[in-house]
């Protein structure tokens, strides 16, 4: 039976850290157990990334549903949860997105205390720079939409940009900086810690996290889901929630569904660690380049998709060349620093660049995906809304618009107006 005996004795704190250090750090328990799968669960979450683990945590903590398994084909957190640029923000312009991401941001703001895990949520601001009057108007439309919905946003002029980010070249001949849209509550969090924190919190409430257990089929009877076939055998379930962004189409195919989703490659990079240089997150509209500095000192940055369907997690040089050109153009002092590592993740790109958290035509089967670039910041909100949708069998107002049916109805949530061309989003 699910139990919580360790919850109180295994709390993290400065005192505990001191106490354990005096006894050779022998008293720490595994952050999550490695249980064998049971024959069946009330809910199975497919995908042990941030979203799946957060869903399990909120199913247990908000809805009291603890007979839950998270099944993951490899070790937890090594998909996009461990391959992103750690940015957290809610600076979206369309209300369907703003509502959802702002809920997520609010959850981030209390996450450490909720999880008893320091995920290093760091609200040092997210600044989106613009390069022309018309781009300013677009930024203002977005910022005003946020403000009307009660979300923080500020419009910075050139001088304000200069004082916030003195390292930026304001007078690039082709991309002069006209100003920026700032969300001060935005920032970054430590991506791996988010995974581990949710895993630990869910585990302590009795959720079974089952690693190295790949789902190979979704069993249905009479239009209703009954469980999942896995590499470790069949596991029964009353409800199955799929949260496998990057591989959503593959799971959908197992359930006989076809989705408006393509898998695309997004690269990210980190530099050698340097002393503090860049305080918050800065994004450049013109060069499709964004950058922040981690608490360890590495500059974390990324840009556009590689631009073709891919499941490879192997980045390619054209994006690297373009991105580094943008980087040095926007921040000339970067030139002599060095890039240490590059990695790539598989993005679930939808046809309007917005996600879905919704029911499916199959009873008891729920999908969470299409995160495009937005997955990391969505982690707590996505888990919270998905848990609600699964527990109540209906969406919360926060995710009511985030359906797959919106495309059929012509109610796209297309922030950038790029249309059904995922490679161009």
């Amino acid at each position: 039976m699910p139990a919580r005996p360790e919850r109180m004795t295994d709390r993290y704190s400065a005192w505990r850290l001191l106490k354990e250090s005096l006894s050779g750090n022998r008293g720490w328990k595994p952050a999550w157990r490695k249980p064998e799968p049971k024959a069946s669960y009330d809910v199975i979450i497919v995908g042990g990334g941030g979203h799946g683990l957060a869903t399990a945590h909120y199913l247990a903590s908000v809805h009291g549903i603890t007979n839950v398994a998270v099944v993951e084909k490899g070790p937890i957190g090594l998909g996009n949860g461990g391959r992103n640029t750690t940015i957290v923000r809610s600076n979206y312009g369309l209300p369907s997105n703003t509502r959802f991401y702002e809920h997520s941001l609010k959850l981030w703001e209390g996450l450490e205390q909720d999880l008893n895990y320091n995920v290093m949520m760091s609200q040092r601001g997210v600044l989106n720079l613009f390069h022309s009057d018309s781009q300013r108007d677009i930024a203002a439309r977005r910022g005003n939409s946020m403000r009307i919905q009660g979300v923080d946003a500020e419009l910075l002029d050139r001088e304000a940009v200069r004082s916030v980010a003195p390292f930026i070249e304001l007078d690039n001949p082709m991309f002069p900086i006209f100003g920026g849209l700032m969300q001060r509550r935005g920032g970054t969090a430590r991506h791996d810690a988010v995974i581990w924190g949710f895993a630990r919190a869910a585990d302590r409430r009795g959720v079974d996290i089952i690693e190295h257990c790949e789902v190979t089929g979704i069993r249905r009877e009479a239009g209703r889901v009954t469980g999942v076939e896995t590499t470790r055998g069949f596991i029964g379930a009353k409800k199955v929630g799929v949260a496998v962004a990057g591989n959503t189409s593959r799971l959908a195919t197992m359930a006989g569904l076809s989705l408006p989703v393509e898998s695309h490659l997004l690269q990210a990079f980190v530099s050698e660690a340097i002393k503090p240089m860049i305080d918050g997150v800065v994004t450049f509209g013109a060069g499709h380049f964004y950058i922040s500095q981690s608490d360890k000192g590495g500059l974390v940055f990324g840009g556009d998709l590689d631009g073709y369907n891919s499941y490879s997690q192997r980045g390619n040089l054209p994006v690297v060349e373009h991105l580094l050109g943008a980087a040095v153009s926007m921040i000339p002092a970067l030139s002599r620093l060095r890039v240490l590592r590059q990695w790539a993740g598989i993005m679930d790109m939808t046809m309007d660049s917005s996600p879905f958290i919704c029911k499916t035509p199959i009873d008891g089967l729920y999908f969470n995906g299409g995160w495009c670039y937005g997955g990391f910041k969505a982690t707590p909100g996505s888990g919270w809304c998905f848990a609600h949708t699964i527990a109540r069998n209906e969406p919360h107002a926060f995710n009511a618009d985030l359906t797959i049916d919106r495309f059929r109805d012509g109610r796209m949530i297309d922030e950038r107006g790029a249309g059904p061309n995922p490679w161009a989003q």
Partner: protein
């Protein structure tokens, strides 16, 4: 001062002295030195502090795997943090400084962290700093951020330049050791185009440490240099192996100088597209974990040999060499030959055939033993796993845990590394791309064996690229087989045993990670940060895996190592950017009238790739004044504007009309020759894609214009549908955007102006009405005229072969002089288009339908049209969607803001739409705007609020028609 320079030997030029500076002190060295070898030769032992505990550190290696000796190289705008002293070629005047210490290297206050050791073990920060909540942002994190990081970035722009270069070859050889040289020679002799890349500044790799093979190395290099089909690139590190046999590299062109010469780049980013690749990148020595293995004086055995043999530096007086394999015996011998003190060889293996020879040279050999402790001055040597032991005075401790073949590039190419038990290491797995490894990269050690294997690989690669085998060449002799390595990773004894020196990860941290469930190698890496420092885990990654494996009770190979990803060595941002940064970041496009605009004082602004005149200020004019003056001239008389950036597509063929009918929501097959028509095209999802006027020049010949930004996408859209969807249609396309410069002549006096300039065309309203198209001559230049208007005034556009643009422009200016013609820029044009209510970029934003823009009725009743079907979806057909309207402030003194939202009442949390475009109007003497407002048409003449909380503004506005001037369209038809 425990190290010293030998009187002879090595590859340094003792005849020349160069001066350099480290931490404010002056030293000397010689050409051929690295900063590290020169510091060692000067007896400098302490070179850096570690990341977390700020422990004092010395030079550990002689290559890119260096974890400790990181310096800030150069000063000012050329300052490069985190530069490995082992990779810096010494040059005269070199300035360097240690980093990550305060106040000084010798006395670093942060070393107090070392005492907190157990409490700041792996992952400690995840468990604390959470209370009180607000302290994270205010206190804890700022402290962590300040403590973190290594060196400091320069604060000024880099004065140096970079470039990219793309090469192709039949065979790319990476590495110029025995295997690489032999591979290049074999492939070169076969006639293949060969490029050989060497990271170091001298070719030779391990050959540089073998005096006996110096002659062969020289012969090989000479032979390769003599071959016209072979290119040798030194100082060139291949950083990544990408798809389709493309490799990326950086050539350090002038890093070995104080600053680049004239015309010289600092670094060159290179790509190599190779038919075949030979990876001869050698092997890297790995660490052994034992207490104190990080103390100044600890130096890898192979590195010590390098300092002795290549740089003529004795890195210590009394040395303990600690090994589990044969390679370190040579270090012990070389130390004994060179040194004045005692050399002790500690081998974990219980027997060694080489022991007697060592003893004969006066080396104290301790078999079946281990080093249990090192503090920089003494080492404790004991029987394996035993207690007690003997203390040795030792200022140099040289571990050798065996050699890891450098499989990074092979691994990046897709070849999954394979565990080789006899080497206790990974070797390259089965090739996925056209590559093969050779020599030590493959686990074939020894110069003769590696050379032989390299020659084989080179021949095979050349053959695979289509070049027959040529004659053989001399290879060094193969030495005797080595004794087997005894896998050995850690000495279990009390004290900190490091597996990652730069990040201060200890063996105990790895075990703690395992206890806490981070048992997968990727989890352990992320939890402890093992292998994530600038040395990329080259020394200790496998050691960490072995310790993790032991904790898991599994063999090392079951644990593996984290995936190899680019970059094999850190790469400068500037290098990867190449030439394409700053003003060269992306192409700049100039119209044929660009020079005229500049000569006449235009303020030019980039719009996309184009440079366009925004306005032409007169002396003393500020703010909106030039824009008003230009727009007023157009509204009252006549103005001229460069509109060359519009996309122009020539469409011909018997089916051209039928094709355009499917492309646009309105009809073009009914357009008469000599007329033009405004058209709107949709994306297939029913959203507006682009708009513009299309002219029919002949029955089967149209000229389509597009918006500036969509010129290329529209042509691609046309080609896609013509080639793949309707291949049966006979239609041809050609972009003529650059062939024709285009100028707009607008205003009530435009007809009179042009009448004075144009020959061969009657411009009267009867003969040349609104939407007419004709041909004539201006200043003898044949031109096309279109009677179209963007400003809302009587207007024409004139297309001119671009080479004649200035001539025609000047002729029109002359003709318009009596009417006070002025050139007007983009800002005045924009002002007038907002007044006229034409939808443009802000409204055609990829979110709007034709109906949203008030053009729903343009959709023809029948026929196949791209976007027709999906435009009918309920969400897009919803009459409540935001519609294009005009807005004007009730209080005409108030300004409007683009991006404001429309609400019923100030303070409302519900937006009804947004303001897409605003301008100050010259017709209405107030701000006006265009907005997309839900049920906009029904709200006409009603008052709402345009709010911009960002500006803390709320303006009451009246909803109007979008056409702020001449809604009946009388002027354009005048």
């Amino acid at each position: 001062m425990t190290s010293k320079r030998l009187p002879s030997g090595g590859l340094i030029d003792r005849g020349t002295t160069v001066r350099f500076n480290f931490d404010g002190r002056s030293f000397t060295g010689h050409p051929g030195d690295t900063l590290a070898s020169a510091l060692l030769a000067n007896g400098v032992r302490l070179v850096g502090r570690s990341f977390k505990y700020h422990r004092p550190r010395g030079i550990m290696t002689a290559g890119p795997e260096e974890p400790n000796a990181l310096v800030e190289l150069r000063e000012g705008a050329r300052r490069e943090p985190n530069t490995k002293a082992t990779e810096i070629e010494l040059h005269d005047g070199l300035v360097s400084a240690s980093q990550n210490r305060w106040p000084s290297l010798a006395f670093d206050l942060m070393s107090i962290n070392g005492f907190a050791g157990p409490a700041i073990s792996a992952g400690f920060y995840y468990k604390t700093f959470m209370w009180p909540k607000s302290f994270w942002e205010k206190l804890y994190e700022p402290l962590i951020r300040r403590a973190a990081g290594l060196g400091r970035a320069a604060s000024q722009p880099d004065p140096d330049h970079y470039e990219a270069m793309h090469a192709h070859c039949d065979v790319l050889v990476v590495g110029s050791g025995a295997a690489g040289l032999a591979a290049a020679r074999a492939a070169g002799e076969a006639g293949a185009r060969v490029i050989i890349c060497e990271r170091d500044f001298v070719p030779g790799g391990g050959l540089l440490l073998s005096p006996a093979d110096a002659a062969w190395r020289g012969d090989m290099v000479n032979a390769l240099e003599a071959m016209p089909n072979v290119e040798i690139l030194t100082r060139t590190n291949v950083f990544g192996y990408y798809d389709h046999n493309l490799l990326g590299a950086v050539e350090r062109v002038s890093d070995h100088k104080a600053e680049p010469d004239q015309h010289e780049v600092r670094q060159r980013y290179r790509t190599f597209r190779a038919k075949q690749v030979v990876l001869a990148t050698g092997a890297s020595e790995r660490l052994i974990a034992f207490p104190g293995n990080d103390r100044p004086g600890a130096m890898m055995a192979g590195a010590a040999l390098t300092y002795l043999r290549r740089f003529g530096v004795v890195p210590g007086r009394n040395a303990v060499v600690f090994t589990n394999n044969d390679s370190a015996y040579e270090t012990a011998l070389a130390l004994a030959e060179a040194g004045s003190g005692k050399v002790t060889l500690v081998d974990v293996r219980s027997q060694s055939a080489l022991a007697a020879a060592m003893t004969a040279r006066g080396i104290d050999v301790r078999l079946a033993s281990e080093v249990a402790y090192f503090d920089g001055k003494t080492a404790l040597v004991r029987r394996r796993g035993g207690a007690g032991g003997d203390k040795f005075v030792a200022d140099l401790l040289c571990p050798s845990g065996g050699w890891n073949p450098n499989v990074q590039l092979a691994s990046q190419s897709g070849a999954k590394p394979r565990w080789e038990a006899t080497l206790a290491s990974h070797v390259p797995g089965e090739s996925v791309q056209a590559e093969r490894s050779a020599g030590a990269t493959k686990g074939i050690f020894g110069i003769g064996a590696a050379a032989y294997d390299g020659a084989r690989a080179g021949r095979e690669a050349a053959a695979a690229a289509g070049f027959a085998k040529a004659q053989d060449f001399a290879l060094p002799e193969r030495g005797p087989a080595e004794q087997p390595i005894a896998p050995f990773w850690e000495v279990k004894a009390s004290g900190k045993s490091f597996v990652d020196l730069q990040h201060d990860v200890t063996a105990e941290d790895i075990r703690l990670a395992h206890r806490e469930g981070f048992s997968h190698v990727e989890h352990a890496k992320r939890y402890t940060t093992h292998g994530m420092a600038t040395d990329q885990g080259k020394l200790g990654s496998l050691v960490g895996s072995a310790i993790l494996a032991e904790a898991r009770g599994e063999p090392v190979e079951a644990v593996g190592v984290p995936t190899h990803r680019p970059y094999t060595m850190p790469v400068a941002f500037g290098a990867l950017a190449g030439h394409a940064s700053g003003a060269h970041f992306q192409p700049v496009r100039r119209t044929a009238l660009n020079d005229w605009h500049l000569r006449n004082g235009a303020v030019m602004q980039p719009t996309g790739a184009w440079l366009r005149p925004f306005f032409y200020p007169k002396p003393g004019e500020t703010g909106w004044e030039p824009i008003f003056r230009e727009a007023r001239a157009v509204r009252s008389s006549v103005g001229i504007c460069d509109v060359s950036t519009l996309g122009k597509i020539d469409v011909q063929g018997p089916d051209a009309a039928a094709f355009l009918d499917r492309l646009y929501i309105n009809t073009f097959s009914t357009l008469a020759v000599g007329k033009c028509r405004y058209g709107v095209m949709l994306r297939e999802d029913g959203i507006v894609f682009d708009d513009g006027t299309t002219s029919r020049l002949a029955e089967d010949h149209f000229l389509v214009t597009t918006t500036t930004g969509n010129a290329a996408p529209v042509l691609e859209h046309m080609e896609f549908h013509a080639q793949t969807v309707w291949p049966e249609l006979d239609v041809q396309f050609c972009s003529v955007t650059d062939q024709w410069a285009q100028v707009a002549v607008a205003g009530p006096k435009s007809r009179e102006t042009l009448a004075a300039a144009v020959d061969g065309l009657d411009l009267s309203n009867e003969v040349f009405p609104f939407m007419g198209v004709g041909e004539g001559k201006i200043a003898g230049v044949p031109v096309r005229l279109f009677r179209i208007s963007f400003s809302g005034e009587l207007a024409y556009e004139i297309a001119v072969p671009s080479g004649h643009a200035e001539t025609v422009w000047e002729a029109i200016l002359a003709a318009g002089k009596p009417f006070g013609i002025v050139p007007y820029g983009l800002e005045a044009m924009s002002l007038m288009r907002v007044e006229k209510g034409h939808a443009a970029g802000p409204e055609l934003n990829g979110q709007t339908t034709a109906a949203d823009l008030g053009m729903g009725r343009m959709m023809k009743k029948s026929g196949d049209v791209i976007g027709r079907v999906l435009a009918g979806r309920p969400g897009l057909a919803d009459p409540g969607r935001p519609r294009l309207v005009g807005i004007r402030p009730v209080d005409t003194n108030k300004r409007l803001r683009g991006g404001a939202h429309i609400v019923r009442e100030p303070g409302s949390g519900t937006s009804m739409g947004w303001v897409s475009s605003v301008t100050q109007s010259i017709e209405h003497a107030c701000w006006i705007g265009l907005a997309m407002v839900e049920n906009g048409e029904a709200l006409k003449n009603q008052r709402v609020f345009a709010v911009s909380p960002l500006h803390d503004e709320s303006v009451e506005v009246t909803i109007t028609s979008p056409h702020h001037v001449d809604p009946e369209n009388l002027r354009v038809r005048a």
